[in-house]
Assembly symmetry: C2
Homo-oligomer: 596 residues x 2
């Protein structure tokens, strides 16, 4: 199935919801207005549609393979990655000082979506490299930056994040990899890391591993973790490659999905110790890791949107072609394409509205990120940072959970053919299943939302968002159209439910932490549903206005219909989540452990 | 992962919800009381735990394979099937006249669940054979019965259902397979059938295909379809096998799941015509097919329960063993098994309560089936048949849809390990995905529920069920315990929502069929959720009473806790479905077709 990037919808979100013209007023982004966005997205669409998307099925059928420590990627991946690097796509959002293009996240996020729609497995390599770049930019010494950044940003080398160990997944306090200080200021690294995405491959000359480890004598738990750069090949002073480092891929995993992306077990130090360089200061590794992690979490949320979009396109195409049964309303007197059947429409509209809602939410979060880094006014930066931080678990958690629903519906639309691998719908279902797990499971995102993002400020950020939503409800009321009225009603009910949950979380956090955390994932699902719905409400208002005048009336009418569907089919789920959270804590924890 | 049949919970449902002692008062079932049920279930558990379950992972890793028309099943399958036949398991629910054991469905359904929990792929062969047996029992001539039934019931031969063709899936009006009448009373069959489960294999001497086809001159559409028996090997007068029939397996599918179950493309008549024998009368094939289909639909619903149970057990075991992070309530001052974490508990309880709720619903439906066939009083038979017919789309549709949720949560509980195939959790996720598709997609079940089961009698059956539920609410109110109160409140809200939807369906069916059918799947999900919840409410009442006196107080307390969880986390979803159905029809159909 070919992929067509939804450039029009992306630009709608970038222009009308994220407000690209305000982003273009930020210092450093003067050239990043709507025209730039349109030009970049068009070029990005061409590249991904033409070069990367055709490798998606081959990657699934002929995954990365391992032999004697060497990983060979799917034929075509290496060449496509060379084109990716050549096109400057790795550096899109990175500083011009190191060869990047310095574009805002508001534009970059749409490009990340396209790359992931085209090929989730392929896109993971740049995604992890982005994380490594962020960490080095934030905490790396000048020497580390000089040695690595240009080559990472150009796509000549790639990066990885080495967190997980067999006994330490969500719980990084259990990390055991050891770093021994050497006299020359370097460290020798010893340990085993698992689940290392693109931990070994043949697409780049060098791989720059960012590795969490403990220095001898460090405090126990997460406060004793440091971050190291451990390159696959040591780098000479002139930038050329030196000796092979003692970091070896001993196997790759046999996975449910994203099969083309090699998931490596890396062994550090089996032959005397891998040479590592400290990033920043000792014992501050977790802090730096969260920088990589936060960038990666947002990006994984975008992966959810991306795979949902691809699954939607695949399902629409099938629904247009597959002829089966007469329409129930008698409008066609013969067997018709299944897209005429109400239940198929319900499935497609669910897929579409969830995808567009999450895309809009991610775009708005990206604009806040840009303002949080570039705005001249400190308070504005801070406010935007607070908003963005609140959005990260929603973008990651809600968009990835919704991608499970959307890719499952994608299979269902295909009927029996959906279960046949050659059809292609099943690949999205399999690929998507990792998204609510890696870079922090949905529960980890939800704990973050409950603890750091809601509990810590007593619910202030959450209530501020609710107040903004209430303003949108006022605008919907003022519009008065049937669609706006329907949206306003559902948005108000969902927002009310959200505020009740925030009150519950804040008031019960200390008194009954089990009940609060039993409701954490439902809270995340409620918040994500609401915020995405809020953006659909804003989209509806814009589209109603523009549908009267725009050249593109059909697009605007479709946006209104999609937003209204979101209100009446997705936002309506919110009150049930409230009930589950506020009243369901006790029954979650009630049954005796032995009875399971 | 080993499998332990939930015999205790099955017997609880059989005794207290399905009412096995009433079933044992039906003519023909005098020996089928609780003791028999317990003895059969214990024996069945032993067989499935010991023989069938260990083949589940091997079947996935080393699936059925095709070469030159011959299908070789996974090593061990043939031997296990011989033991299955030897044990008399195929004949459990079939008439003693033909060598069966004539046990009620109330007992048989639990055995079907065990077999499917043990191995979904393996269990499909007997499942399809059951359908063939039902069709022959109902409509086969004496000669056909004499020729085939004993050997099918003994497990010496197996059966298949040949409905689907490339252009005819849900829409059987499009069937093109041709049957040419011969002078000797047989027919020559020509055509291609796809998605034929166990259409070819090496586990039995002969395969008895039941095939839908059109006789020359038959009316168009579904009224011109006839049903034929087309054996793989012709059967001599003495019952021995004769010539190979012209029905050949030209390929098997490469599927997302249930990989050990060969899904065949069968070519009939490429070498002169396959010999077929008419079942019943010409042009009544669809009617007979529905007999097979209804048995199979119920059984597929049980497959959903079965795979959910297996996924639950797998997840519980992992959650007990995997140590990660400290409990949020401070109850343990070190990293603890993840089963201590509220969100893991929420996932496990969701899995458990959905599984138990659907098991209870299926058990009650089975008892109605038994009464509908065996009760002495015609009106009682009729009432039970009506109830059972209403239940079939719920058992099939809701239990299979819930199995997607449960198996997905099963992966999630495992975190990153869930995505690694060797862990085994992913297999359930893949296997389950076919269940809401085959034997009629969820939409097909929902159309049946809306049209034949609700619209046709003006909602009478649905409202009668609602009235029964209201009685249970009264009993919950009378009980007065906190759990009963919570359940009563949620049950009443869900029942009210259900009745509103029934009113909507009945009143709008002609005026706005698109809106009604746009809400058909949500209606099915609401009805299934409610009826399963109703059974959990009944279970709660029984368990509360027994927990004071029973030896097995721990089991009874767990049942109360699970029922309450169901009320507060699953039943609460009902009002949102009502909103979606009653208010969401217009927005489902609003967007222009070109805009997709």
């Amino acid at each position: 199935m070919s992929y067509t990037a939804p450039v029009k919808d992306m630009l709608f979100a970038i222009e009308h919801l994220a407000g690209i013209e305000q982003v273009a007023q930020l210092p450093g982004f003067e050239d990043a207005g709507l025209d730039t966005a349109a030009a970049v997205l068009e070029e990005c669409a061409r590249f991904n549609e033409g070069v990367v998307a055709p490798l998606n099925v081959p990657g699934d059928q002929n995954p990365s393979s391992w032999k004697d420590g060497v990983v060979t990627t799917t034929p075509g991946f290496k060449e496509a990655f060379a084109q990716f690097a050549e096109g400057g796509w790795q550096g899109l959002q990175h500083p011009q000082d190191f060869g990047g293009q310095g574009l805002p996240k508001t534009i970059g996020a749409a490009c990340v979506e396209m790359l992931n729609s085209a090929n989730l497995s392929f896109a993971l390599c740049p995604l992890l490299t982005d994380g490594a770049i962020e960490a080095l930019l934030t905490a790396g010494s000048e020497e580390l930056k000089r040695t690595y950044l240009e080559k990472l940003i150009s796509g000549q080398w790639t990066g990885t994040m080495n967190l997980t160990e067999p006994q330490a997944g969500s719980d990084l306090a259990l990390v055991r990899t050891r770093a021994d200080r050497q006299d020359d200021g370097t460290y020798k690294i010893f340990g085993t890391k698992i689940f290392i995405t693109y931990g070994e491959h043949d697409m780049a000359e060098n791989i720059v591993h960012l590795v969490l480890a403990r220095v001898a004598g460090a405090p126990e738990g997460v406060k004793g973790i440091s971050l190291f750069v451990v390159p696959k090949f040591l780098v000479n002073a002139d930038g050329s490659l030196g000796a092979r480092n003692d970091a070896h891929c001993v196997s790759i995993e046999h996975k449910l999905g994203i099969k083309a992306s090699p998931t490596a077990v890396l062994q550090f130090g089996d032959h005397g110790g891998a040479v590592g360089w400290l990033v920043g200061e000792e014992n501050r590794g977790l802090e730096y890791m969260f920088i990589m992690m936060n960038a990666a979490r947002y990006a994984v949320g975008v992966q959810g949107i991306a795979v949902a979009e691809r699954a939607y396109q695949h399902a629409v195409q099938y629904a247009r072609e597959r002829v089966q049964s007469r329409p129930v309303d008698g409008s066609i007197k013969a067997s018709a394409a299944i897209i005429h059947h109400p239940d198929v429409r319900r499935m497609l509209m669910t897929m579409r509205s969830l995808t567009e809602g999450c895309r809009a939410m991610a775009a708005v979060a990206a604009a806040a990120y840009d303002a949080s880094h570039h705005h001249a006014d400190e308070q504005v930066r801070k406010d935007n940072a607070t908003f963005y931080e609140f959005m990260v678990p929603l973008v990651k958690g809600f968009s990835t959970e919704m991608s499970l629903e959307v890719t499952s519906l994608g299979v269902q639309v295909h009927g029996g053919m959906g279960f046949i691998e050659e059809t292609g719908a099943a690949q999205y279902y399999r690929d998507a299943r990792i998204l609510p797990i890696y870079e922090g499971t949905t529960a980890i995102q939800a704990n973050d939302l409950v603890g750091r993002k809601t509990g810590r400020d007593g619910g202030a950020t959450a209530r501020a968002i609710a107040a903004q939503i209430e303003k949108t409800e006022g605008e919907l009321h003022a519009s008065g159209s049937e669609a706006a009225r329907a949206m306003g009603e559902r948005l108000a009910a969902a927002r009310t439910a959200f505020v009740e949950v925030v009150d519950f979380v804040v008031s019960q956090m200390k008194a009954d932490p089990n009940a609060v955390f039993a409701g954490s994932v439902p809270y995340l699902m409620l918040a994500g549903n609401l915020v995405a719905g809020w953006q659909m409400a804003r989209a509806l208002l814009v589209a109603e206005k523009l549908s009267a005048t725009a050249q593109d009336a059909a697009f605007m009418q479709a946006k209104v219909a999609t937003a209204r569907f979101y209100a009446e089919h997705i936002l309506v789920r919110a009150p049930a989540l409230r009930d589950e959270i506020v009243h369901g804590g006790a029954s979650t924890m009630q049954m005796a452990l032995e009875a399971f």
